[in-house]
Amino acid sequence: MVAIRLIGSAATSQSRSLENVEESFDEIVEEHQASLFRFALSHLRDRDEAHSVTQDCLLRAHRSLGSFRGQSSLRTWLMAILVNLIHDRARTARWRFWLKLQPIDNLQRSDLRASPETQSMQREQVDAVWQTAAMLPTQQRTVFLLRFVEDMDLLEIAAVTGLKEGTVKAHLFRAVHAVRGRLGGKV
């Protein structure tokens, strides 16, 4: 990763190393800001809060960029920071606004060939998944979204959350079970 090489190299002058850190940070923001925001929005279901927590994540990353040793991927490292920030916010009661879900009416773009009835059924199914995700405990929702939105495998999810792989699997099993229960006869 360019960022790691630039930071790991011995700079001859402090100004030069600081310049490299800023360049690396700009690249990191450009590459990861959108995906971090996507996960935050899926978890918090509020655009402004998602922006806020994404900004906080990137600022924290900037402050501790020098201490990143590359033991995990940059994406995993950033996502771990973001997950911690989201969990901190979820602990305070006032962030339970996620119960008010934003309307989902954007499936038409991907299902233009499906009949109106099929599109309606698909919309209902996706709504059911969003509602189920909203009702999951915070940690379980995190694991579920990392798997089914961010497409991370069990090892990556374990690295992001700090959980053991078996615990990640247990959370996912319960989440999938809840989703299937909610879908009921809709599948």
Partner: protein, 136 residues
Amino acid sequence: MNTHLNDEQIADILIGAPVAAADLHLKTCEDCRAQVASLEDVLGNFRSSAYQLSEAAYRPRQVVPRPSFGRLGFTLAGAVLAVIGIVSIQNWQPTKPQPVILQSDIALLMQIDAQVSRGIPEAMEPLSQFLPKESN
């Protein structure tokens, strides 16, 4: 005898940790294959909707790391507030409450003034008969 995949096996497949036996069963059982495919479609649509939602809501914002206010800043702010507070206290003078003067107080004061102005206090008038009369 149940020849289909159970909930745990289906969940294992969906979360990406299938057991070999479940994988093998899927190849031979059309019902289970259809059920798993249907669930995968739903989860795939869910993922697409998450992407579409974030694309619609995403506004790239410039992340400008700013130096934190720090202890020095708070110390200076506290010192400024303390100075302002001291100056304000020194210039503050409590307003003296205006005395409430009653009519009864005025009458009492006039009575006292009249008695004090008398040559012989009223209480001592009975004794005045014992005083020598002044000759003309």
